[in-house]
Amino acid sequence: MNNHPIRESFQKGLVFAIIVVFMMMTGFHLIAATLASKAFGVYVLRGSIPDVRFMGYIHMLFGFWAGWSASGRTGKTSTRIFQGFAAGFTTGAFVALFDLLLTFLILSGTDIREYLSALSIESMDYFLLNLRQMGILAHLGIYTATGLIGSALAVFLRSEPVQHGWQNLKSSITNFTTRINETLPLLVRKFGKYLTYLVLLAVLVILPTKWGSYMNFVIGLVGLYVIAGIGLNIVVGLSGQLVLGYAAFFAMGAYSVGLLNAPEPHNLMWGFWPSIVVAILMAIAAAFVLGLPLMRLRGDYLAIVTLGFGEIIRILLKSDTLTNFTGGPRGLNDIHGPTLFGKPFTSDVDYVYLIFAFVALSIFIYNRLQDSRTGRAWLAIKEDPIAAQATGINLQKYKLLALIIGAAFAGLVGGIMAARNQFTGPNDHSMMVSMNVLSLVIVGGVNSIPGIILGAFALKGLPEILREVENYRQLAFGALLITMMLMRPDGLWPSSRPKMEKGDYSQNGENITNDGGKNA
């Protein structure tokens, strides 16, 4: 097919039109406008519909985007600008066509809500910018104009002087930072790391008292998922075993704490601290029992078996036969939380501190493990099990070790979660939990602590805060995963290996110079 530049931009415009129409039909525009108006602090309630200007802004954004992406990287300036115009016009035309169709349907008395539950006459009005018939023309105009602007801006920003200037700016910034680094006194350079930690610590101690109970709840959840992510990363990221039933180990921990601290069905009341140890041990025991036969499996088979294991645990907990022992489908209620120095944990702030402490501990353990003989053996197994075995690594032993350590983290998370929610039930440990933990590791960046933290925020924190878009969580989730795999296959914050040959690797505070192998 002949890829004429103009035809290509018509196609791009069509794609954007489809996206826009789809979003309008599912009501996503309305939500986006609500969020935007909230973000700008303008929330004019008229019914449940925010200020109409934001609707216009969102249309503008898409038109701009269409123009930007349609404008080519090479060719005559006029052609490139015209490409943006064409794309914007196409998008606008198709959106207008859609408007026309809807208007016609509404006027002819068809009840469109029967087919599209998200659309009402009011929201239709809203989409048309409260301009009725003129709104259709307004759409066409907005898209064409913003398309034109988008392409013009793209042409301008991609032009040589601008790119050149941008490169200069970047290099001068890096120069500046390195020079600052060089001029810093030795003391600061040496203790800068600890200073950063100290500031971070202060922030983490002060913030939870400031930002309110709900935020603490969300941050606590994110923290728990960070711990779980680190634990799963030891299994998946370091030793390379795809385990899909991670929530089963959550369940081990949660039920250990739950059964030992809930009034029903056993009324044992051991207290949190002994029972969290039991929780970890139970998770380890489960990993051991599961792992012994499992370590001979690889890849897909391992994934399927662990997936099944997770479901078996959940269904067992749910079953009626075990109701007397585990509480059955109703779960365990009124689980008593921890007490520290005689003071019971009551607010979310207490739990946030507890979780922060364990997050720090997990990061510490992870960092030390990954840069050790054990960690390197795991990575070697992940990269090439055959070659790893030929260097003398006992595959079974190391894979089992990774699973056990990972499970211990999960047991801890499950235990804290049960105490924090004062409840645990079979559905807290469903497959979706395992999938969430796995995706946050992959989205954030395998083997990268900042990546895992970012991933936990993106996957657990944001959806919690953006309650409005809850219905679109799965949609956004899918889109996010696809985008990630295309744009950043190594995760949001990819990992890097420590530099050990050169001097800046200072685990032992010593610099070993290379003598060119004379003493080998």
């Binding site: 030390r368 003989r373 990575l379 070697a380 990269e383 260097t391 290996r497 050990m500 070993i512």
Partner: protein, 271 residues
Amino acid sequence: MPDIIIETKEVSKLFGGLTAVNKVNLEIPKHSIYSIIGPNGAGKTTLFNCISGFYKPELGEIIFQGECIQGSSTDFVATQGISRTYQNIRLFSKLTAIENIMVGQHTKLDSNWLDAILHTPRFSQENKKSRAEAIRLLGFIGLAGFGDFLACNLPYGMQRRLEIGRALANDPQLLLLDEPTAGMNPQETVEMINLIRQLRDELGTSIILIEHDMRVVMDISDQISVLDYGKKIAEGTPKEIQANPRVIEAYLGPGGAALAKKYQDQRRKNA
């Protein structure tokens, strides 16, 4: 015998109806470079896999320093002091070069995961020593300054050498090299030949070499065995092998062997 490092006695490996290695007897002297050559599919790599424990030979014995090792697991064989490289490079590509070598030291070290978390004195000492040794080894194989590169980012020749470095890291007594010069340019080949010689002369390692490049084989081998269809058809010094009519036939076929003989006779006459 004290000067034999490894001995295979009547080793056979069957894949269904195919006899990949057929009653092969080898005796490899210590501190020597012993080459195994043969046409493609002759069973050379299969023999390597039997020695290093990937395959369990159906028949026969493999005796390494007086101990039977056939049928042992690969990691056990590695702890006994046999290292190997592979026909197609099998580095840990997302680890740095120096980390690859440190993984290679696995059997030499013994700090466990608890040492790593607690940074016990054992861990710290061992880590320091292992890093220093890895850096030295990097220099030895000619990769000084490339230690912090990811293995997958190194040029091909360096990857080959790094693989040898990883195999050397646990001070093996026996090194199995599977086509170390495959795909190399003449310059890299010469460097590799020198490196292999250094291994024997400076480190005293015994080496079994699979190689297709006859210039390399004839240049550095102390002894050569020829395999064809899983059977050993000849053994001897490079000179003896070059003159062996069965070897020539195995490589060139009966017609080619006749031609070669004619050509050699002619050359002799002219000389």
